[in-house]
Amino acid sequence: MATNVLALPRASQPTGLMSWITTVDHKRIGILYLITAVIFFIVGGIEALIIRTQLAAASNTLVGPNLYNELFTMHGTTMIFLAVMPLNSGFGNYLVPLMIGARDMAFPRLNALGYWLFLFGGLLLYSSFLVGGAPDAGWFGYAPLSERAYSPTHGVDFWILSLQLLGISSIVGSLNFIVTIINMRAPGMTINRLPLLVWGTLVTSLLVIFALPSVSVAMFLLLFDRVFSTSFYLPNNGGDPLLWQHLFWFFGHPEVYIMIMPPFGIISEILATNSRKPIFGYAAMAFAFAGISFVSFTVWAHHMFAVGMSPAADAVFAGMSFVVAVPTGIKIFNWLATIWRGSLRINSAFLFAAGFIGQFTIGGLSGVILAAVPVDWQVTDTYFVIGHFHYTLFAGAVLALFAGTYYWFPKMTGRFLNERLGQLHFWFTMVGMTLVFLIMHYVGVLGMPRRIYTYGAAQGWEVWNFIETIGAYLVAFGVLFFVINIITSLRHKATATNDPWDGQTLEWATSSPPPAYNFASMLPVNSPRPLWDAKYGPHGEFASNPKTVDLSGGGTATVHLPSPSIWPLVLTIGLSIIAIGIIFGFDGGPLALDISGMGMALQSLPIGLVTGIVVFFIGLIGWVSQPAS
């Protein structure tokens, strides 16, 4: 291999910006995921604020209907694919190898590829604003609304192609997580001793693997409809809009669990540590993860009660949807039992985690209400539904991700976040979100439909919408405190020890932040709480004189680590050029080279597509020529 000019020299150690661009270290990739996703979260939040400001008064004219459609489409797509999912990937990337006692992920370069595809997918989606208009058919892209005839700008094309890039990102990330978790556990860490965040990540990854290809196909077919004039979803020509809905929701429903499982894991870790108790009912929690994920594949059509399926289908999908409440209920009771009689440490992380339990339960309950077919018929496509899923995704996923940030920030940076700002953040968020999302249920029952850019004063919704908007701004102030907190805390001195919260899992057994190789040595693992066992003894023998643990080897151990690589970025650039080449390379677009004069059957050549494929292959050859480790 030494003769291969494409391979980077093994010993190269880039510094500065280059060291981040070529990094294959799971901790750095995790941090890149987190920072990028927080930026997209803020952008999606600004879109939400514009939506709420528009709706604050009846017959408001701040934004027109077209921009409003773009805003709610981009808000939904951003929050799901560019904020919550990558935040989960960020925490997973950073923490999973540390929690299972591994030195990196199974495929470090694949890990980097996942990040770059996420970044470029997000940039591709947002570049649509600059070239002719953002997607405007909703995050669910219902055909035929998303077809060329009803959505004539390139917005939906951008949406399709960027979601395909993000889909590849999620798939490669999930493949990596699955192999890492199954194959790289420390000796003694059986599947039934995995920390619950690792369980959540494993289950989520399996869901991604089995759910995402369905929407990938759905979007390819939509792309064919838009670019090659097929009619998969056009009823006039024999197509079927319901095909889109089935393919989409077969992914779309597992997707909500994809977003919420890792937060469930985060909450479990935080509540156990901050109650100074083991998690209550570990096995039941693990089985609940598996149970929810299995059932999640049997409930997709509860999004489609209103389209007129047979009563038998309605009944089955409603029944399975009720079943989801059982494992979810098990989790909620186990969290409560974990706190019960614990010696509580009430800090920002704990507050967010405890707030999560209460608020998420509301979202779960309104979900059970919506699973009842007659009720769903009544409130479908109203603000009741918006209230429901924001209670699961904001009150669920986002609160847990905030909690996780307060909890693991010292591990990632060596610095603590400010408690006072953290608690301000908590109370603003809690009050604000209740004002926005609880009232949405009520307005929905009053009959306010979703996806309308304004409403008349005679409807009587104005005062409620105004209060919701105040709530949205309170949430925004909370996020502002959060961002200020992160920026100011990073300027303080690093004071965090290995184990600032008296943790139970292995990430607290190494330094804060951990050395590049994570661990120089390893503890024996005999339970889900290896660090706790080492500090206090498996039966509390050392409780009177607890030990401290340091597996970092002082940060100076010499460990062979995988070489940095530029090829994940090159592959990503190739795929991005392919995406742009598809959008603009057909129907006389700017990237369609006219070769009709050359006497070939082909009239025009999509040069962007061809260029992208060439770049992709250069990246691929570089990748396979570089030694893997």
Binding site: R103, L175, N183, M184, S214, F228, L247, N526, P538
Partner: protein, 211 residues
């Protein structure tokens, strides 16, 4: 627990942190299975859903058009020949793996070339089928049946093409000395993918041409 006790017996002062046992330079995987082999299987599981969604699309659109508008122009003889070719290519792939396991590198390269060749023959048969349809006025956007047919077989054909490129890269690697009887996992992985694509075709053949 015994291990914890052993740590305790080490020469450790009371105020020094526990250090655990050093991690060896080479760590076995938890399952004993190579990472790359495991990821290949999980990837194939994911691909199955991809093709399942395409097949579902084909099946819901299959009976929406009359025979003259599409399915009647399919050529069962060509498709049967193609099926035979692809199954045969799986055989040469298996034999290639067996050859390198027995340290017969030359034979492996020959069999890989054969596999890639059969793959190309399959694509040729596919192209023949496409041209026949197009000559009968049935193209990608003619009706939902033709769209579903071209999408389903087109995605499968793309997978075959990727498989051929994969095998060519294996051949190049083998010629440059990157594959030996002690280091042939790459052949096994390429084989897994090739057999999967082959298996998908068996299902496609059944739902498109037989039922």
């Amino acid at each position: 627990m015994a291990a914890v006790d052993k740590l305790e017996q080490g020469a450790r002062r009371a105020d020094e942190p526990l250090k655990g046992v050093l991690i060896p330079e080479h760590v076995e995987t938890s399952t004993g299975l190579d990472h790359r082999k495991m990821v290949m299987w999980v990837f194939i599981a994911s691909e199955s859903i991809f093709f399942a969604a395409l097949m579902a699309t084909y099946l819901v659109n299959r009976d929406k058009v009359s025979l003259e508008e599409g399915p009647g122009h399919l050529d069962l003889a060509v498709a049967s020949f193609n099926t035979f070719i692809l199954l045969f290519s799986s055989l040469t792939m298996v034999l290639a793996l067996q050859a390198i396991e027995r340290a017969k590198k030359g034979r492996m390269i020959f069999l890989l070339v054969a596999t890639a060749f059969w793959g190309l023959v399959f694509l040729g048969g596919q192209a023949f089928e496409y041209i026949e349809l197009i000559n009968n006025g049935i193209t990608f956007d003619t009706n939902v049946w033709s769209s579903s047919f071209f999408a389903l077989t087109g995605f499968h054909g793309t997978h075959v093409l990727i498989g051929i490129i994969w095998i060519v890269m294996l051949i190049i690697r083998a010629l440059r000395g990157g594959i030996s009887e002690h280091n042939h996992l790459a052949v096994e992985l390429g084989g897994l993918y090739w057999h999967f694509v082959d298996l998908v075709w068996v299902v496609l053949f059944t739902i498109i041409y037989l039922i």
